[in-house]
C-alpha cells in the first residue's frame, strides 16, 4: 500500500508539471494586452514599458514560465490586475463559498442518488423503478443552466418564495439564511450527479443482490429491508466511490455554470470574470488550484477504494 502511494504521488508530479505548462501557455497566448487592460487606453508608451518590465513581460518565454512556477512554489500567487488584491486573498474567500456550495450539493446528490438507486434495484420491474429511470434520463438531459433558470422562474419569479439571485452566507453564521440563499443553486448543481449516482448504485445493487452472501442472509431469515440497506448497499457503494472521483470534474464544470446562473460569488464566477477581464494572474492561479484539487481528489478516491475494499491489492 505504501509503495502504491509513493508510485501514485510520483505519477502525479509529471502530470501536474505538464498541466502547469499548459495552463501558463494558455494564459500567455491569450489575446489582449493585460498591461493596457490594467493601465487603461490613455497610458503612455513609457508607462506601458515600465509596467511590462516590472511584471517581467519583457523576459524570454521560458524565463517567464520558470519565474512564474518558482513564485507559485514559494506560495507567491501574485496580485490581481483588476482588483489589486493579492490572488490568494481573492481565491480564499471564493473557495470557501464554492466548497460550501459543493459540499451541500454533494450531500444532496448522494442522498437522492443512493435512495433512488436502491429503490430501483430492490424492485426492478416496479412502477417506482420506472420513475427512477425517467428521473435519471431527465437529469442527464437537462442542462444545468436551464434547470437553474426554470427554478428561478418558478420559485423566484412566480411563487416569490426564494431569492432569484444567490449570495454567500456562511453556514456557521446563519444556517437558515444559508439554506434560503443556496437552495436553488444546490439543487441545480446536485441534479446531474444525483442521476449518475442513482444509475450506478442501481447497477451495482443489481449485481450485489445476486451474490451468494445475500442469498445466505435471506436464507437466515434477515428481513428484506436489512438485506438491501445493510448487507447489499455497503458493497454496492464501492464502485460508486470511483464514479464520484470521475464526477468531480463534472462537478467543477457544473459549479462554473451554476455560479454564473445565480451570480454566486464562488471560484466558478471568479474564473468567468477573470476570462472576461483578462486577469491572467487570477485565472492562472485559480485554474492551477482547481487542477491540483482535482488530481488530489482522484488520488484520494483511489486510496479510499483500496481502504474500503481490503481485497484490492496494489502491487
Amino acid at each position: 500500500m505504501r509503495q502504491y502511494l509513493v508510485l501514485r504521488i510520483a505519477q502525479l508530479i509529471p502530470v501536474l508539471f505538464l498541466a502547469s505548462i499548459a495552463i501558463w501557455a494558455l494564459m500567455y497566448l491569450l489575446p489582449g494586452d493585460p498591461v493596457i487592460a490594467m493601465l487603461g487606453p490613455n497610458a503612455t508608451p513609457e508607462q506601458v514599458t515600465a509596467v511590462r518590465a516590472q511584471l517581467g513581460f519583457d523576459q524570454p518565454v521560458q524565463t517567464q514560465y520558470l519565474g512564474w512556477l518558482g513564485r507559485i512554489l514559494h506560495g507567491d500567487f501574485g496580485t490581481s490586475y483588476q482588483t489589486g488584491l493579492p490572488v490568494p486573498q481573492l481565491i480564499g474567500s471564493r473557495a470557501i463559498a464554492t466548497v460550501q456550495l459543493g459540499t451541500m450539493a454533494f450531500v444532496l446528490s448522494m442522498v437522492i442518488g443512493v435512495t433512488l438507486g436502491v429503490v430501483a434495484a430492490a424492485r426492478p420491474k416496479s412502477f417506482a423503478a420506472r420513475v427512477v429511470g425517467a428521473y435519471n434520463s431527465l437529469t442527464l438531459a437537462l442542462p444545468s443552466f436551464w434547470l437553474g433558470l426554470l427554478l428561478i422562474l418558478l420559485f423566484g419569479v412566480w411563487l416569490k418564495v426564494l431569492p432569484p439571485a444567490s449570495g454567500f452566507v456562511p453556514i456557521w453564521v446563519d444556517p437558515l439564511g444559508t439554506v434560503r440563499m443556496s437552495l436553488l443553486p444546490v439543487v441545480t448543481l446536485a441534479s446531474y450527479t444525483s442521476g449518475i449516482v442513482a444509475r450506478f448504485v442501481r447497477a451495482a445493487m443489481l449485481d450485489v443482490l445476486e451474490a451468494d452472501y445475500v442469498r445466505t442472509a435471506r436464507a437466515k431469515g434477515v428481513t428484506e429491508q436489512r438485506v438491501v440497506w445493510r448487507h447489499a448497499l455497503r458493497n454496492a457503494l464501492l464502485p460508486t466511490v470511483t464514479v464520484l472521483g470521475l464526477q468531480f470534474g463534472a462537478f467543477i464544470g457544473g459549479a462554473v455554470v451554476t455560479e454564473g446562473v445565480f451570480n454566486y460569488p464562488g471560484l466558478g464566477s471568479l474564473v468567468l470574470s477573470s476570462v472576461l477581464q483578462r486577469d491572467y494572474t487570477t485565472l492562472q492561479a485559480t485554474i492551477l488550484m482547481i487542477v491540483a484539487a482535482f488530481t488530489l481528489v482522484n488520488l484520494a478516491v483511489d486510496l479510499l477504494y483500496a481502504f474500503l475494499d481490503p481485497r484490492i491489492q496494489y502491487a
Binding site: 442542462p143 454564473g260 468567468l272 476570462v275
Partner: protein, 276 residues
C-alpha cells in the same frame, strides 16, 4: 429494426432524433419568418397562434430562431465529434498498437488534458482564440479527444492480440493497413457509442459556453445564446427562457437514448458509462 421493435423507448428516441435533424435541416422551409428579422412593434409577444414560441427583445420570431438553432446545434455536435475522432482515434490506435514510449508519451498528454476539468480547457481555448462558432467547435472537440483516445487504445490493446491480426502481420501488411483496415473495423463498436455520447455532451458544453456569453455570438440563432439573453428578461418574457432550453433537453435526451440503444445493440461497455 427488430431491436427497435423490442425497445419502444429507443425507437421513440431514434425517431425523435430523426425528426429533430430533419426539422433543423428544413428550417428555411419550415420557419414562418426570417430568424434575424427584427420588428420592435412585436417585442416580447407571448406565444400565440401567430408566433408559437412568442417573440424576443427585438421582436424576432422565437419559433423560427429555435428551428435555426437546431442547425447550429447539429453543426457544433458533428464538428466536435469529427474533430475529437480525427485526433483521438489515430492517437489511441498508435498508442495501443505500438506501446512502449509512444504509448507513454501519448497517454501522458491525454492525462494532462484529463487533469484539467473540461469546461476550464474550453474556457481557456475560447479566451485564447476568441468567441464564434468555429472556435466553439474546436474547444468542444479538443475537450473530447481524451475519451476517444483512451477508448480506442483500450480496444486496440485487446484486438491486436487476436489471431487474425497476427495473420495479417505475418502476411506482411504495412502499419497503415494493419491499423486502419484490420484493427479499427474490429474496434469500431465502442467508438460509435462514444460518438453518440459525445454528440450529447458537445451540445451541452457548447450551449453552456454560449449561455456564459463565451460561445456562439448573436445574431446567430443558438439555443445557449437565446437562454443567456432570455435570462435577462425572465420577468417580462418567461417563455424566452423556456423553449430554447426545452430544445436542448429533448436533443440531449434523444442522443443519450441512442447511445444506450447502440451500446446494447453492439454489446459494448464503454468509458461513456463512467463519464456520462
Amino acid at each position: 429494426m427488430a431491436y427497435l421493435r423490442q425497445r419502444p423507448s429507443s425507437a421513440f428516441a431514434v425517431s425523435l432524433l430523426a425528426v429533430l435533424a430533419l426539422v433543423s435541416l428544413l428550417a428555411p422551409l419550415l420557419a414562418p419568418s426570417d430568424p434575424n428579422q427584427t420588428n420592435l412593434i412585436r417585442q416580447f409577444e407571448p406565444p400565440s397562434a401567430v408566433g408559437l414560441f412568442g417573440t424576443d427583445e427585438l421582436g424576432r420570431d422565437l419559433f423560427s430562431r429555435v428551428l435555426y438553432g437546431g442547425q447550429t446545434a447539429l453543426l457544433t455536435a458533428l464538428g466536435a465529434v469529427a474533430l475529437a475522432s480525427i485526433v483521438g482515434i489515430p492517437l489511441g490506435l498508435v498508442s495501443g498498437y505500438f506501446g512502449g514510449w509512444v504509448d507513454a508519451l501519448g497517454m501522458r498528454l491525454i492525462d494532462v488534458l484529463l487533469a484539467i476539468p473540461s469546461i476550464l480547457i474550453a474556457l481557456g481555448l475560447i479566451a485564447m482564440f476568441g468567441r464564434g462558432t468555429v472556435n466553439v467547435i474546436v474547444a468542444v472537440g479538443v475537450v473530447n479527444i481524451p475519451a476517444f483516445a483512451r477508448l480506442t487504445r483500450a480496444t486496440t490493446l485487446s484486438v491486436k492480440e487476436q489471431d487474425f491480426v497476427h495473420a495479417t502481420q505475418a502476411m506482411g501488411a504495412g502499419y497503415g493497413y494493419l491499423l486502419g483496415r484490420t484493427i479499427l473495423p474490429n474496434a469500431i463498436g465502442p467508438i460509435v457509442v462514444q460518438m453518440a455520447v459525445t454528440g450529447a455532451t458537445a451540445i451541452l458544453l457548447a450551449s453552456a459556453l454560449s449561455f456564459l456569453g463565451l460561445g456562439i455570438q448573436p445574431p446567430t440563432s443558438d439555443w445557449g445564446t437565446m437562454l443567456s439573453i432570455g435570462r435577462q428578461h425572465l420577468f417580462e418574457a418567461p417563455w424566452y427562457g423556456i423553449f430554447p432550453g426545452l430544445a436542448i433537453a429533448i436533443t440531449v435526451y434523444a442522443l443519450d437514448e441512442l447511445s444506450r440503444a447502440l451500446q446494447e445493440l453492439l454489446g459494448t461497455r464503454t468509458r461513456a458509462e463512467l463519464s456520462l
